[in-house]
Subunit: 133 residues, 2 copies
């Protein structure tokens, strides 16, 4: 059966009915933030997951490099994105693709939290390709 | 290398640098709309794709049923969603999961276009599970 998680955030914030925002540690001393799994195993999704991350002002995601790729769409705020050797500024509405094994990190810019959707493929699929998540 | 498609839409509309909005036919006589592949084979994404669909007022998506599942996050507007036997109203910010083989269709409600992100798994992954896209 289809699952709907209704948006309950107001005034440009994001929260969803039936979805718990878990603490997300991120990277560095300025860590703090949240991770909300909108679509994943709990919804019965076996092929991919869609998560929402929110990183506070002065915060950053952990510096990551792994075999799974990311599809990202920014919902609010701005960040400095490190994508391999590249530094890019990204903001609300931008779409970002991070290929497998590319080092990446996002650092919030400005006074607004940086919020983004992040798609990952299923662990099982990656196993068939010799990767891992 | 990471790919960034910058959002160029203004005043609540959506468009992306380096992404062409293709015509999307949809279902019924009131068809018309667009499909923008934000992350897919062109970006090097082999595990999933992220597309943006926009359905005009009085328009609808095609009535679909297939082996691949969908992860959806609504970016603008409202729609009547048919999810199997269920009819739900969905709007900006809502997240929707449509499992494999569930009949589904979205019909725009109100005067604003209905715009949504739609994630699909890769064809190759579905083949390993005996499905198709």
């Amino acid at each position: 059966m289809g699952v709907v998680h209704r948006q309950t955030g107001r005034d440009g914030t994001f929260a969803w009915e039936g979805v718990e925002a878990e603490p997300y540690q991120g990277g560095g001393a300025s860590a703090g933030g949240s991770r909300s799994v909108l679509i994943g195993p709990r919804e019965g999704a076996a092929n991919f997951a869609v998560r929402y991350f929110e990183i506070p002002p002065d915060g950053r995601t952990s510096s990551d490099r792994h075999a799974h790729d990311h599809g990202i769409v920014v919902l609010r705020g701005r960040a400095r994105a490190r994508l391999g050797q590249d530094i890019r500024e990204v903001g609300a509405g931008d779409a970002v693709y991070i290929p497998p094994d590319e080092p990446h990190q996002f650092e919030t810019l400005g006074a607004e939290p940086f919020g983004f959707l992040c798609v990952i493929p299923s662990k099982e699929w990656l196993k068939t390709r010799g990767g891992r998540r």
